[in-house]
Symmetry: C2
């Protein structure tokens, strides 16, 4: 089995897939400024949206390399956001010296973890999420993987963990996508969701950083995150549960931030809402984020979004949308955004790797919709 | 190999240890009111303590069963709080029906976990901690395991997880201790630390509760938690980092609460402090807890400790100490305790399963000791 791998359209190399394939290094991705709007990735013609930032921003901004390959026989029309077992995963380890091993591709499957590992006992873990898209010409696009690599480094520092270098992270993402390229959905049918994990795999008993870390990347083909598909979602503003606190870890993608919102999400879903919008824990007044995405509020020509102050995740789609909105002539404000402004907005939308750009159809706050 | 197992001194049964031993059910522990002060477990004569609540409370309150056995050849004099590999661990699984399997003892070792398990991706995990002590007559004491069982149930509900029944939890603890009884330190040399874990082991991709859960118990012989041993510890009051927020998960023993304090703990230890005392995230004024224990402030005949309001852990040692202090004629107040009261206290001490009762020798707040 051979893969044709290439950079920006020119075939560079082909390497046989063995247990530990040696992929030729691909060119680094172009700088973020070389944004390409790939509107064809999403069919937006049927959406009940005004011309505006959501329409303008529902886009893929990409660094790319090209390959030709077949896809597997899946029901691409009905992809949700569940795990589909793919072929390979990447794994690298890091000991007390802080240096990660070269990493290898292994068949996707269970890993062996000590019951006394840092991640299982004290939640010392981080994750990332990014996507690969297939273009109509068969080439595969990655969305700003260098941003995920850098965010993992920032998060690792906060969680007292070593992190792989940006170069290793991007190389590992590329290797994993190429090894699983037959799982990248056809153009317009979805994407290959890429899940890097960094975890304290070494053993601890008392509370302390683990003495060994494992970096894993696995992938799964996905469709839409919300069951609403690309239609507007319905949010409930949560004023009892909070997901983060100043001086906490809300600004990094540590695993513990997510299990803590399951209860609020469960209650909201039971009541028919798509997801929960959290308020700040101190004043219970300012918007923070939705369980798995950032929020934007549009009023006239001004797009406002909560500033990055350590309690919300610095979303990569969020950053890209700000860039795009500015380039389209909108005024963008990163600041405290109150719940009153939310209720008075012309338009509200969410951004995230999983949800992409989701328009908000309704907001419910203190019983009022 | 045979174990003599008994309840409250009377030998009940002996069962051969096979891959899946069937221990005879031991009597349930006595109610919490039947507290026995086991002062002999700790030598307190050399401590620089006033007669007072710390001295009165450094005790083991126990439900007990008896057995006779040899111990392994360890350096019992120098046990710290690190992991020591023991013989067996308990493991049980629970699927979507919410019922846990019967559970079995297996050799201690790595478990197989999917990279897309809920615990590794979204931190859906809880832990408990309790101890078994060896009495001079060779019998082994457990410290209120029913409290840990109930706390795991409360925590599981908050984290959208099923939990084993109190009966299964206690039975599993007993099985695990008996299977590893040769690792219970001799009287006065330490204890066998018991670590129950409950984790979302089923696979997820989008944020959701896992479809399968694993309940594990492993053990390790331990000595003192702090390097100070039984000598007073030195705390720094943290006013930048916070561990919990109202409406968060600070009141349950979820794994994510612990990795989030590693950074503050690391900074404190680098400066020579034993641990960190956290303040509330909203007012930055009221005491919460230390990274791994509760805090008590003594002024005259009054012992005050932060009330359980969802941001601090409802410690089992904390509760026992309150019971003992009341029985000794102290007035106990569970309420908001300000940092000013802390600095004005006659005596301060910490309680926890790992730390037992640790006197605080110094407090540093905003640079002042």
């Amino acid at each position: 089995m051979e893969y044709g791998v290439a950079s920006h359209g020119a075939v560079l190399a082909a390497a046989p897939l063995v247990a530990r394939p040696t992929w030729l290094l691909l060119s680094p991705p172009p700088p973020a400024s070389s944004i390409q709007i790939q509107n064809h990735l999403y069919s937006i013609s049927s959406l009940p949206l005004k011309a505006g930032p959501v329409r303008a921003c529902r886009a893929s901004l990409a660094s790319s390399y090209t390959q030709t390959s077949e896809t597997v026989d899946l029901d691409w029309e009905n992809l949700g956001f569940g795990i589909v077992q793919t072929d390979y995963m990447y794994i690298a380890k890091c000991g007390t010296d802080g240096n990660f091993s070269e990493g290898e591709m292994v068949p996707f499957g269970p890993i062996a973890l000590s019951p006394s590992s840092g991640v299982l006992n004290y939640g010392q873990g981080l994750f990332e999420g990014l996507k690969a898209y297939r273009k109509t010409d068969g080439s595969i696009l990655l969305f700003r993987p260098e941003e995920n690599a850098q965010r993992m480094q920032t998060g690792a520092e906060r969680m007292c963990m070593p992190a792989p270098s940006v170069e290793q992270f991007i190389d590992a993402v590329k290797q994993t996508v190429l090894a699983n390229k037959r799982w990248v959905p056809p153009t317009g049918k979805g994407s290959l969701y890429i899940r890097p994990l960094l975890m304290g795999s070494g053993t601890v008993l008392g509370l302390a950083p683990a003495p060994e870390y494992t970096f894993i990347i696995f992938v799964s083909p996905v469709g839409n995150y919300f069951k609403e598909g690309l239609a507007p979602i319905n949010l409930i503003v949560e004023d009892k549960f909070h997901r983060a606190t100043p001086g906490g870890t809300g600004g990094v993608k540590t695993i513990g931030n997510y299990a803590s919102v399951l209860m609020a999400q469960k209650i909201a879903k039971e009541k028919g809402y798509s997801d929960v919008l959290y308020l700040d824990a101190v004043h219970k007044k300012y918007l923070e984020e939705v369980s798995s995405c950032n929020i934007f509020v549009v009023k006239g020509n001004v797009i406002s979004t909560p500033a990055i102050k350590g309690t919300i995740l610095p979303g990569i789609t969020r950053k890209s949308i700000i860039d795009v909105a500015l380039s389209k002539g909108f005024q963008v404000e990163e600041r405290l955004v109150s719940v009153d402004e939310l209720l008075d907005a012309d338009e509200v939308f969410c951004t995230g790797t999983a949800v992409v750009v989701s328009p908000v159809g309704s907001i419910t706050y203190q019983g009022k919709r």
